[in-house]
């Protein structure tokens, strides 16, 4: 489904990604964990070319973007982005559009769907995140958790989520995690950066531990959370006493 081969990225002279390889299967939930500055966000943003890698290959389905001497052309990048949906830490909904308009914007403008069809699909997706009553609400009229659920109302080939619950009040985290869990169970492919270790343990099929720009370890949640590696132990130990979104 997703395959990343030899991904490098630096900002100026600072190397951020040092040759990352990653595979995520269809329907798999891949949780990326690791401390700040380890390159998690840059990796995620490279997957839809919000950051242009310095070199490396990204494949999503049958679409291959190979960054060698030249940057792939804009049309190819837009195709990649149509296959990926992104959920941002700070929601980034369009404040001048209603919840429904936010959801169908891409369908109308990018995929050129006829309006009635887009609306039908948009309402269906809103229902899936439990917000069918809120389709006329503007982002400013929604709670943080509701905003993030609107942002997740989509069905791309893969959803990329960059710490989707970090900007939320603690009591709103669980409602978002519950929706995520539901989407995962319905077979949505997801790559999620998260600090919710309980969520990673319960929902992710694969956990990737990033450290200083490369993947230090990857495997099932059990493998990672019971790892003997000192670095990983030190990181996961911080979370063992933390309670997280209980209902997720």
């Amino acid at each position: 489904m997703i395959e990343v081969i030899g991904l490098y990225k630096s900002f100026g002279n600072v190397p951020i990604l040092k040759g990352v390889n990653l595979r995520v299967k269809q329907g798999e939930v891949c949780a990326i964990i690791g401390s700040s500055g380890s390159g998690k966000t840059t990796l995620l943003r490279c997957l839809n070319y919000l950051e242009t890698p310095d070199s490396g290959q990204i494949r999503i389905g049958d679409l291959i973007l190979d960054r060698q001497k030249t940057v792939p052309n804009g049309e190819l990048i837009r195709q990649l982005r149509q296959r990926t949906g992104m959920v941002f830490q700070q929601f980034n909904l369009f404040p001048h559009k209603t919840a429904l308009e936010n959801i169908i914007k891409g369908l109308l403008v990018v995929k050129m769907l006829p309006k009635p069809q887009a609306i039908e699909l948009g309402k269906l997706w809103l229902a899936k995140v439990g917000l069918e009553q809120k389709w006329t609400a503007f982002p400013g009229q929604l709670s943080g958790g509701q905003k993030q659920r609107v942002a997740m109302a989509m069905e791309p080939a893969v959803i990329l989520l960059d710490e989707p619950t970090s900007a939320l009040d603690p009591e709103l985290v669980s409602e978002v995690l519950a929706v995520l869990k539901k989407l995962a169970q319905e077979g949505m492919t997801m790559v999620i950066i998260t600090h919710e270790m309980k969520f990673a343990r319960e929902v992710a099929g694969k956990v990737v531990f990033m450290n200083e720009g490369s993947i230090l370890a990857e495997g099932s949640p059990e493998q990672i959370f019971s790892s003997d590696n000192a670095r990983i132990k030190a990181f996961t130990a911080q979370f063992n006493t933390t309670t997280v979104g209980a209902s997720a």
């Binding site: 919000l50 149509q82 369009f94 404040p95 914007k105 990018v110 929604l142 905003k147």
Partner: protein, 225 residues
Amino acid sequence: MLANREWLIVFNSLPILVQGALVTIEISLLAMAGAILLGLIVALMRISKVKILQYIAKVYISFFRGTPLLVQLLILYFGLTSFQIVLNPYPAAVIGLVLHFGAYISEIFRATILSISRGQWEAALALGMTNSQILRRIILPQAVRIAVPPLWNCLIDILKSSSLASVVTVPELTRQVEEQSSAQFVFMPYFVTLAMFYWVMVSAMGWVQEWLEKKLEIPGGSSPS
């Protein structure tokens, strides 16, 4: 003391003043539309990544913001005749106002476009939208809302500055009043009336601004997060 006789003279010439006011409104509206369009184009040039476009925009803004409108009008109307370019009073006035205020308005648009958070661009990019789609559908609608108050300052200034068109012989409000006043030898009543005419027109613009701001209001507020 101002005699009632003088006010009567002013009153009797009201039809002429209204005619002048209509000319003022006409050139002002044309100049506003032109300056908004030019301002938007120049703002986009300054934001663009094309160096030469940025440079042209900068030089344009520097000159037209850096010299008095009156001087610009004199150059357009009288100066250009040295090059066998003869503009009629109306177009000279409108072009002068557009060029002058386009420079100010371009900076308003540039500031408001840049004030829209980077996250809005990224969210739209992540959907697969092209830059021009993002600008048209996501950024400009939000930028315009923020631009209204400073933009209206400028549009009001255009209306008032159109009085300088009197210098290039456009028969607008100020010129009509000046002619009447020197012909009738009546001063204060005419000029107070003139001021009142502008005040009323600008007040009307203020109501339009209020209406527009209300119309562009986003339910629940405009914060992107």
